[in-house]
Amino acid sequence: MTKVEAVIQVSKLESVKAALHEIGIEGMTVLEARGHGRQKGHTEFYRGREYTVDLIPKIKLELAVADNMVEKVVQAISTSARTGKIGDGKIFLSRVDEVIRIRNDERGENAL
């Protein structure tokens, strides 16, 4: 099983969710995040003061999927989150040793 973590633009959350639902992925965790890679920050002047935002608001998605679904999930996220500009985000994959459903103690892929 694989954990998929994706940092995406805030405005892309709905389309990424829809794309994941289309391939049968219902469960995910959504976190409010801030960050930047090569994307520069943003500065506004207001009433003579400078307001600089170095860390741009982002959304982080976390989900665990069966290995045979990983590529589909990556494709779904990439396609729906992409704008082609700097700041689109990244996807990280890591191995998951075990998944347990708290309600009924189901384990492994059955718990996904």
């Binding site: 633009q9 405005s11 608001p57």
Partner: protein, 877 residues
């Protein structure tokens, strides 16, 4: 000490334990069945109490002593809920093993252990305490619960004389001696618990035991009454009899209802779980739990019944808490003394409670409204007697309720006071608020289910208002920033009114609650007789109250997102209001809803939109092309015969002009423009709520704006805001909003005409402005240093507009500042196309759109202007 010990064989003991278990199981099932068919919680509790008591006594006779009244010097006492005979299906069973002395305790240790074990084996959750009689006479401040539980003590078995000594001597002596400490500790524990639940009864999934207005508050009310009585009357009556008849009338049915609900929850959940979850609410409504009339109820309606009862209990408990006599710390007492000083001719304040000086005063609706204004201003509570007096006059008030502008005058004042939310809650609980604003009835105690909201709809609205008022004492950098915007609002009462009405649509049968709220708000605003511009503002806020949240789901740093949002907002004042509305609305959903992430993003969107509003000011109107412009359509409706003249007047004015002025104002400006033939300078002077307004309509010419600004400065007026617009025909509409520093106009009506003549004279070249200014500046030479130093900044933007150069000046506000700036521009051959002047505290924020010979300023020209402006601002007027 040797006591008789019953002899029982193991097999006999085992079979009697098994019989007890079977009996307990059967009877529990019977009680459950009976409750399922009757829904009578009181009966179920009494039966369960009797069952457990029987079991305990059976076990007592088997294990401890065959006679119920033995052994000597030891007694079994029921405490807490068991003592009160309110034993819920999965509550702990509070028992006190009371010994006369340590020897008895030692001698009976094993039997007591077996007895307790026996009860545990029967799956009865025991909560035991062991004391010797002497220990019951000592008060442990860290264990107030034990002392309070003694108030519900009841003899079960053992030495009756020992129990009598406990009940007749030890407890009364303890309670009398320690009443102040007990009352204080009980009050502290209760207030902490209330605070944990946000000091509100209106939770969407309340805990029927611990949430304010729940069963714990029932107990608190009875304990407080009893403790006070034992202290004063040296008596131990039935605590319910100590409540006033009117309180009792609501208390008894409320208690009965809550008992039934908790009983239902225990049986439903199979454990000590007192949460009225949504599913439980559905089932309770379906079964009519606690409701003895046979009619079908929706979950929402059933919950309204719940909240009605919770309100009664909470009110009774809170009133008793407030009346705890002088047991406060010296700091609290000092605070109460300060509050007492706010008493006035109508109301006196004693220990933080408001009393009426004149009993019949409330017959005058004005006094009634002033009462709540008083509460909102001073953070005081109504005394019980005052509340009853308010309730008594409601029927006569309902016959001719206050309405119209007079009602709005008082309501608006209440809304802007620092403790408005508390005043509104009190008015609401006394049913006064829904009498004055029947539009709020549908959302009274309304539960609307979603995963985010924690409170009922009405409480959410009060909380949103409270959230904004809390910004006046900011506890974080965010709160400070948002608080600054709040202080800048011209009409904050409109924002508060919008918050009060914004979710009323949730109580209507409507798919879209915003549309429902708008329809309801329109009726309300009409009844309150608000001016049309005020109504427009309230309706705008309600209509767009989700816009900022929606914009946050897009890229807030994308100029297209900001532009689209700004287009909807229209003016800086509305932007500020909408920003604060969004902040308060989200924060009032639940305590964690407004994350730092959201707070920062709202702020970023706000400042981006504020800057955008300043950048796109000079987009011009072309009435023929504005087919969808509601304001133009409205103008045509108001003046159907003036179509061509309106068109000619509006042609070339900035879009911002129409957003700034109401339709009636535009028509008035048109009249003034048409009167220029009679006199080339048309002036209109009015007194607004916060400041004076001078509107000038005339033909554009060099130095015009500066001259008016200078004349105002020469008269000692402080310009706080100004707008300057011009149309294609060269007619300018300038409005200056100013405060009358020396009260020249305020105290002398006759000076108004002289003032207008003064302005006109300067513009016509008939008066010497320089001389007027010099004499004013000389008179004001000695002035104190400003309290807050503002750093000067000048920013220009030659790209935001296609035909003007934007210059923004932020500087220390001072008399004559605007004249200095405007004159500098004029001296450097710049024409002020548009000016947006604002002042916040000591900070002047002035935005100008400049042209030179109808074009943007060339870069070199702009540099010269900036340099000259810097020098002029450094040197002063």
């Amino acid at each position: 000490m040797r006591e008789d010990r019953p002899e029982k064989s193991m097999s006999t003991a085992g079979s009697s334990s098994s019989a007890l278990r079977d009996h307990y199981t059967e009877e529990s099932a019977r009680i459950r069945q009976e409750f399922a068919s009757t829904g009578n919680g009181g009966a179920a509790l009494a039966q369960r109490t009797a069952l457990v008591e029987k079991i305990a006594l059976e076990l007592w006779s088997e294990v401890v002593c065959p006679e119920q009244r033995g052994p000597r010097n030891f007694t079994l006492v029921a405490l807490g809920g068991f003592g009160r005979r309110w034993l819920f299906p999965h509550s702990d069973i509070d028992l006190l093993f009371l010994h006369a002395d340590r020897d008895t305790e030692q001698a009976l240790k094993d039997r007591i252990r077996s007895f307790s074990q026996g009860l545990w084996d029967l799956r009865l959750k025991l909560s035991p305490a062991t004391r010797i009689l002497q220990e019951c006479d000592r008060f442990d401040p860290t264990n107030v619960e034990f002392a309070i539980s003694l108030l519900d003590c009841r003899y079960l078995a053992g030495d009756p004389d020992l129990f009598t000594r406990l009940h007749e001597k030890v407890i009364p002596r303890l309670m009398t001696r320690e009443s102040q400490s007990l009352l204080q500790r009980l009050a502290d524990v209760t207030r902490s618990r209330h605070e944990k639940f946000g000091n509100t009864i209106f939770h969407l999934e309340p805990d029927v035991k611990d949430t304010p207005g729940g069963l714990r508050d029932c107990n608190v009310a009875l304990w407080l009454s009893l403790l006070s009585s034992m202290d004063k009357l040296q008596d131990w009556p039935d605590p319910k009899s100590l409540l006033s008849p009117s309180a009792r009338k609501q208390f008894d049915p409320a208690l009965d209802f809550l008992m039934s609900v908790r009983c239902f929850l225990h049986m439903r959940n199979g454990r000590e779980d007192n949460t009225l979850s949504w599913d439980a609410q559905e089932e309770a409504a379906q079964r009519g739990i606690g409701v003895y009339e046979s009619k079908e109820l929706s979950a929402a309606d059933w919950m309204k019944i719940y909240f009605g009862h919770a309100r009664s209990i909470h009110r009774t408990a809170t009133q008793l808490l407030e009346e705890i006599p002088a047991a406060w710390s010296s700091l609290s007492r000092h605070f109460q003394t300060l509050r007492a000083r706010v008493s006035d001719t109508d109301f006196s304040v004693v220990d933080g409670l408001v009393f009426l000086r004149e009993s019949s005063a409330l017959r005058d609706p004005e006094v009634l409204l002033r009462l709540f204004h008083f509460v909102a201003l001073h953070d005081v509570r109504l005394s019980t007697t005052t509340e009853y007096k308010v309730e008594r006059i409601l029927p006569s008030l309902a016959a001719t309720p206050p309405k119209g502008a007079e009602l709005w005058l008082y309501l608006g004042e209440i809304l802007t006071q620092p403790h408005a939310a508390e005043a509104l809650r009190t008015m609401h609980s006394l049913r006064l608020l829904t009498l004055l604003l029947p539009e709020l009835k549908p959302i009274d105690s309304l539960v609307v289910r979603d995963f985010y909201h924690r409170f009922t709809v009405d409480e959410h609205s009060f909380l949103a208002i409270e959230t904004l008022h809390r910004l006046r004492e900011p506890r974080s950098e965010w709160e400070k920033q948002y608080g600054e915007i709040l202080n800048e609002l011209e009409d904050p009462e409109l924002l508060y009114l919008s918050l009060l009405l914004h979710d009323t649509g949730k109580g209507a049968v409507s798919e879209n609650h915003v549309e429902g709220s708008l329809a309801i708000a329109e009726r309300c605003l009409q009844r309150l007789d608000l001016e049309s511009s005020e109504r427009e503002t309230v309706l705008f806020l309600i209509s767009n109250h989700l816009e900022m949240s929606a914009a946050l789901r897009r890229d807030i740093f994308d100029s297209a997102t900001v532009a689209a949002f700004t287009e909807k907002v229209g003016t800086p004042e509305r932007l500020k209001m909408l920003c604060l509305f969004t902040y308060a609305d989200i924060k009032a959903v639940n305590p964690d809803a407004l994350t730092p992430w959201k707070a920062e993003n709202i702020w970023q969107l706000y400042i981006a939109a504020a800057n955008q509003l300043n950048r796109n000011v000079d987009e011009r109107l072309h009435p023929d092309a504005e087919v969808h412009n509601e304001k133009i359509a409205h103008l045509r409706t108001l003046a159907p015969t003036a179509g061509k003249r309106v068109k000619a007047f509006l042609e070339g004015l900035p879009q911002r002009y129409l957003k700034t002025y109401a339709a009636q104002d535009v028509l008035h400006h048109l009249e003034m423009a048409e009167a220029l033939g009679k006199h080339p300078v048309q002036l209109d002077l009015t007194r607004g709520r916060h400041w004076f307004e001078l509107t000038l309509v005339t033909n554009d010419r060099p130095f015009l704006f500066g001259k008016v600004a200078g004349t105002l400065a020469a008269w000692g007026m402080n310009i706080v805001k100004a707008t300057a617009f011009s149309n294609q025909a060269g007619t300018v509409v300038d409005t200056f909003y100013f405060t009358d520093r020396f009260r020249t106009l305020e105290l002398n009506l006759s000076e108004w005409e002289r003032f207008k003549r003064g302005v006109s004279g300067v513009l016509m070249g008939e008066a010497d402005l320089d001389r007027m200014l010099k004499s004013r500046m000389q008179a004001e030479e000695k002035k104190s240093q400003p309290k807050v130093k503002i750093k000067m900044s000048i920013q220009s933007d030659n790209l935001c507009s296609s035909n003007s150069t934007l210059v923004q000046v932020v500087a220390q506000d001072r008399p004559g500042l605007l004249y200095t700036i405007a004159s500098c521009f004029s001296h450097h051959k710049c024409n002020i196309e548009i000016a947006l002047i604002d002042t916040e505290g000591q900070m002047a924020i002035d935005v100008f759109y400049l042209t030179a010979i109808r074009n943007k300023l060339a870069p070199e020209h702009l540099k010269q202007v900036e340099a000259a402006l810097r020098e002029a601002l450094h040197s002063g007027p």
